[in-house]
Symmetry: C2
Subunit: 201 residues, 2 copies
């Protein structure tokens, strides 16, 4: 068929999360109308990323250099490692500009159902990193899901006895959140972890 290039592009775009066949068609027409402004740059940006992107052999982050910019950055605190499931979580924490330490990207969570065991995640590498003298704390920032919690539990067991402090992100009321709309689990956790007013931050 003559339109095969366009059809192929629609099919590929439809496989992106958040896009279906209908929105992929709209996106492709949008691209074709803006060939110079959008289609050409996008094709080039994708090719650039495909060629240049690599996984950091230290932390599992993605970057154009290995080790990644965060692992290379001399100004970042090398005594703390924040363990996240995915690069998206690393990006989310980086966007807060409130964490000065290192990261470790697991590449998923333990899942008996999906057959994901410890050997499928970057856990051995994490244990290896924590044995360095400079590391004093590991923050487990896996998601607050069953799999995330299970994975955090497993890692905390693995790190027991190494002398490294293992911590978890705090549970509680989201900033700006209304109690009435909060689930019971979060509210219970927020109550349990309540802090005395006037206590040191």
């Amino acid at each position: 068929m003559a339109l095969s290039e366009v059809d192929r592009l629609i099919q590929l775009l439809a496989r992106l999360p958040g896009l279906g066949p209908r929105s992929a068609r709209r996106a492709v027409l949008h691209l074709i109308k803006r060939r110079e402004a959008l289609l050409d740059p996008l094709a080039r940006a994708m090719a650039d990323v495909a060629v240049s992107i690599r996984t950091c052999s230290t932390c599992g982050n993605i970057d154009t250099v290995d080790p990644c910019a965060i692992c290379r950055d001399e100004k970042r605190d090398r005594s703390v490692i924040c363990v996240v499931e995915d690069v998206a979580d690393l990006w989310a924490i980086e966007r807060t500009s409130s964490y000065p330490g290192q990261y470790h990207v697991l590449g998923g969570t333990l899942s008996a159902l999906d057959g994901v065991g410890p050997e499928d995640l970057r856990i051995d590498r994490l244990v290896g990193r924590t044995s360095a003298a400079e590391v004093s704390e590991v923050i487990l920032a896996t998601n607050a899901t069953v799999e995330g919690q299970t994975t955090a539990h497993y890692i905390s067991d693995r790190l027991a006895g190494t002398g490294v402090t293992v911590s978890r992100l705090a549970h509680g009321v989201p900033v700006g959140g209304e109690l009435d709309y909060l689930d019971d689990g979060t509210l219970t956790a927020a109550l349990k972890s309540r802090r005395r007013l006037g206590a040191t931050e």
Copy 2:
């Protein structure tokens, strides 16, 4: 910044309709994880489309050849031209496999607000095409919006006196539609255009 290639890709993807910064980030991570299966083919498909796509000088459709495959197809009825606003509308009609004729893509609608006049659309070209002896009917399949209707009106005026039959898509109850959920305008149109049962299709 070291991640600039990835950031640039996110920014470009976020400009697609239906994607925002958040879904663009997710899409890029999805792409990077599936480099061979998705990112490489997508980069190539975009480059292919950017190089090969052109607008049909006859009907305004997009294709890799000019005239487009529909205009070239000897098996299609050359006596009917279906006028649509956009290539997406042409695709929508083609998907029904129920229209055997030619198309004419206007490239938009008349709009005083946006400063779109008849000279900005492919209307002169349409009038030129209808002067061919073989053309007997023009179907105005512009959208049922104010702009679409205005444009249809204008074209029908332009074609008055040429001897070509000018028709509009029927208004009515969508197939599978429930009256209770239908807007008044559609229901009124469906009532006005009611057909006697047992009449010839």
